[in-house]
């Protein structure tokens, strides 16, 4: 019902009264289809009910909290305190909906943030409506009256406390990652979708990101917060109602740190070994080719008519009989 009304309104607003007369029948059909579909889209927008402050909190928890804090402290991404004063609402909405588009479009501020956070892209939230985003922005507190310098100092003074874990935790984490031991809440094991390059771990799924260097990029805080409350829709779905315990989060974080420290990029690659491998391979190839040549040297190498065909070429009429 709503759609139809919107559709009619849309047409009356956009099209001059004599507009239809200027088009042929088939043009009119297309136009009608276009206006109906546009109406549907607009209608869809209109019927969504404006979100309340309560929704804002819930939405923030579900979508943002795993990477962002409401204070000025950095987690995976920057603390959001005072963001409403720092950026315009329009900028924030378009950033939240598709951050990489803004970076690619060359928005100076967007590029600066992207660079600052080691080119770690923020998840796009295109499925959130403007109203939902506005509701979330509404709950973010403004900057306290204290001097900026003091806040910065305070930040430096209290760095995020490193997580405490042992080697046993890392080993337990590995078992959890590979699925050799199950999660308490029976969530799927990480290896289903993720891969890490680590001795003793079979190659994992290719559905999601390679996590070999995830700890190097996100550090304890980032890794643990993503694991405990996944911000990615697919991952959030997979662990919906099956969230990991704090201990499991700790163990996995420990494992990712071990993996990162052992990743091939960080391993001490000896250039001598590489040359030896290359040389050995080359010599082996030559030896193998010689063996092949010796074993099959008696093979039929060309058509029995090759000499006839050669003679058929222009300017070569000599006959060998």
């Amino acid at each position: 019902m709503m759609h139809i009304i919107v559709c009619i309104v849309f047409r009356n607003l956009l099209l001059p009264s004599n507009f239809e007369e200027q088009f042929t029948l088939s043009d009119m059909r297309i136009l009608r289809l276009l206006s109906i579909s546009a109406g549907l889209i607009l209608g869809g927008q209109l019927i969504s009910i404006p979100a309340s402050a309560q929704d804002g909190e819930a939405l923030f928890k579900a979508n943002c909290a795993s990477c962002h804090k409401l204070s000025s402290k950095r987690l995976v991404g920057p603390g959001l305190e005072g963001i409403n004063e720092k950026r315009s609402e329009e900028w924030l909405i378009s950033w939240i909906k598709d951050p990489m588009k803004m970076v690619n479009d060359g928005d100076a501020e967007a590029v600066a943030i992207f660079e600052e956070y080691n080119k770690l892209p923020m998840t796009a939230f295109g499925f959130l409506s403007d109203d939902e985003i506005k509701a979330m922005l509404a709950i973010i507190p403004g900057k306290p009256a204290a001097a900026e310098g003091a806040t910065a100092e305070a930040e430096e003074e209290e760095p995020v406390a490193p997580m405490e874990y042992t080697e046993e935790d890392a080993i337990a984490g590995q078992l959890l990652f590979t699925g050799e031991s199950r999660f308490v809440n029976s969530g799927p094991s990480c290896v289903t979708c993720h891969h890490v390059s680590f001795p003793g771990v079979m190659s994992g799924g290719l559905l999601a990101k390679d996590l070999t260097d995830v700890h190097g990029r996100l550090l304890d805080a980032g890794v643990s917060s993503i694991i405990s409350a996944p911000p990615f829709p697919a991952m959030a779905d997979a662990y919906n109602g099956k969230s990991l315990t704090d201990e499991e989060v700790l163990q996995l974080t420990a494992f990712f740190k071990t993996v990162n420290n052992n990743s091939p990029e960080q391993a001490d690659t000896s250039s001598m070994g590489f040359i030896q491998l290359l040389g050995g391979g080359f010599i082996g190839l030559i030896v193998w080719l010689v063996i092949i040549y010796a074993m099959w040297s008696y093979r039929k190498k060309e058509s029995v008519k090759a000499d006839i065909f050669k003679r058929q070429l222009k300017g070569n009429d000599s006959v060998n009989s």
Binding site: M295, W296, Y298, R299, K300, E302, S303, V304, K305, A306, I308, F309, R311, Q312, V319, S321
Partner: protein, 497 residues
């Protein structure tokens, strides 16, 4: 004694006019398909010549056939160890160019070309790639001695001839040729069957036809290498090998194979032979000079009561034994001894026999240096045959010239006898002398003449009822289809004695 039946053939080369009707009949029925364009299950070659595929007789190139190995034989180009070694690449296969690159013409261009300064032409396009090609050779490029320097002079059968003897063959006054139509020999010791790693090839029990099971063929192409006659072909489209099936669907319904049925010169004969399967290994592995005689000995006399008894015991149907008694092949090969196998030295015991051609006698040089193309006699001696006996022996008797000469003497006896009977201008003494020498009496000579020249369709093709119903009963319960109308029999199959 293990008596079995074998459908065998005789081609009378004196009657072949090289018209390729057989090849075309076969092509239209069986190999007019994608991937089979280059195959000629039946082909007609000019001899001397290199044939199709080129130089197929040269087993130093193609490694076909069997080799004597103690008291047995082993394949020249296949086997367990050789098969393992060449599992990824079969190194002696003929390439497409050894056969020929099949082509067609873009005839449509003749009608649809836009108006221009030049005449429209139908370009040759490859039947393999569809791209325009330059035609370099065809399946019978050496027909009637064309391209002699490239083909006829490189005939593999010259290996026993001295260079001067070879040269003499190509002097204009002596030059001659005959045709050699070839199909699969449906050998008693088939190298193709022995070579197949998949067990896809088999020899049918009831008539000895050699077939490739298309479901089991795994494209190893060992049979292509192993067949010394190069009569197994690889279909590049289906990825399976194919060969002459002796038109078994026609045989089963009592019809002659298409090549034989269509033969204009009526050179082809088909009939059943009974043979002793216990002797196959011994025959295949005997010394080269005994090969022909031992092969002929393996075929049994279908009128011998002992043979008939053994045949019945081995499950050969009475109607098959009866067909063997009327077999024209038995007459040519065993009774008269005027048909010989092609290249017995390949040791496959081929079942296609050839009556060798009587070629024109050599011209004589008169005292004044002119060539006398007609000799004094009506039929000069066979020593004046334009093709040397050594050459014919290389084709038909593994180099045994005495045996070829024997056959020619018999053929000449028939000729002289018939001339003397119908025209009467020969010297009786001369005729009698040769007939006595070749052990051909007047009755035999008349019988040979009759089957050669006047034979009816039924005399040329004595096709035994195939009794497929008995084979089918081994595989499925025929009671399920009882009362339904069947297909495939032209004659009512006979049951029991």
């Amino acid at each position: 004694m293990d008596v079995r039946a074998q459908v065998s053939m005789v081609f009378h080369l004196d009657k072949c006019i090289g018209c390729h009707t057989c090849s075309v009949a076969c092509k239209n029925i069986w190999t007019d398909r994608r991937g089979a364009e280059y195959m000629w299950w039946n082909n007609v070659e000019t001899k001397p010549g290199t044939g199709y595929p080129t130089k197929w007789e040269d087993q130093d190139i193609y490694k076909g056939g069997w080799e004597k190995n103690g008291n047995s034989v082993s394949l020249k180009g296949a086997g367990k160890l050789k098969g393992l070694k060449n599992i990824f690449h079969n190194p002696h296969m003929p390439v497409l160019e050894d056969y020929y690159h099949p082509w067609a013409y873009k005839y449509q261009d003749l009608f649809t070309a836009p108006e221009g300064d030049d005449q429209p032409i139908g370009r040759a396009v490859s039947l393999v790639t569809g791209e325009p090609i330059d035609i370099k050779s065809g399946p019978n490029w050496d027909d009637d001695l064309s391209g002699t320097p490239d083909y006829a002079r490189k005939d593999v059968n010259f290996k026993d001839l001295s260079p001067s003897e070879q040269e003499a063959m190509f002097q204009l006054e002596q030059m001659t040729f005959h045709y050699l139509p070839r199909i699969c020999n449906h050998c008693l010791n088939p190298a193709c069957v022995g070579s197949c790693p998949s067990g896809a090839l088999y020899k049918r029990g009831e008539d000895g036809v050699v077939l490739i099971n298309q479901d089991r063929c795994r494209a190893w192409r060992m049979c292509v290498t192993a067949c010394p006659y190069k009569k197994s072909y690889y279909n590049w489209h289906t990825g399976k090998s194919e060969k002459c099936i002796l038109c078994y669907p026609r045989l089963e319904s009592g019809q002659a194979p298409a090549c034989m049925h269509s033969c204009v010169g009526r050179i082809r004969y088909l009939g059943v032979m009974l043979y002793d399967a216990d002797k196959i290994e011994a025959v295949a592995s005997c010394n080269e000079n005994e090969l022909v005689q031992k092969q002929l000995d393996i075929y049994l006399d279908p009128n011998d009561p002992k043979v008939i008894e053994e045949a019945r015991k081995a499950g050969v149907h009475d109607s098959t034994i009866e067909a063997a008694q009327r077999s024209p092949v038995y007459k040519f090969v065993k009774e008269w001894g005027i048909a010989l196998p092609l290249h017995p030295e390949f040791r496959t015991i081929p079942n296609l026999f050839y009556v060798p051609p009587m070629l024109p006698a050599m011209a004589q040089v008169d005292g004044d240096g002119t060539y006398q193309t007609a000799s004094e006699k009506m039929f000069p001696g066979i020593d004046q045959n334009r093709l040397p006996m050594k050459y014919l022996a290389s084709l038909f008797t593994a180099g045994d010239t005495a045996r070829v000469t024997e056959v020619y003497e018999k053929l000449m006896s028939v000729k002289l006898h018939r001339r003397n009977t119908t025209v009467g201008d020969m010297s009786d003494e001369e005729v009698k002398e040769l007939m006595a020498k070749s052990k051909v009496n007047a009755d035999t000579a008349d019988a040979i003449f009759r089957l050669t020249s006047l034979a009816t369709f039924e005399e040329r093709f004595v096709i035994p009822p195939e009794h497929r119903e008995e084979s089918i009963e081994m595989l499925e319960a025929t009671a399920d289809a009882k009362g339904e109308t069947g297909f495939g029999f032209k004659m009512r199959p006979e049951r029991g004695a």
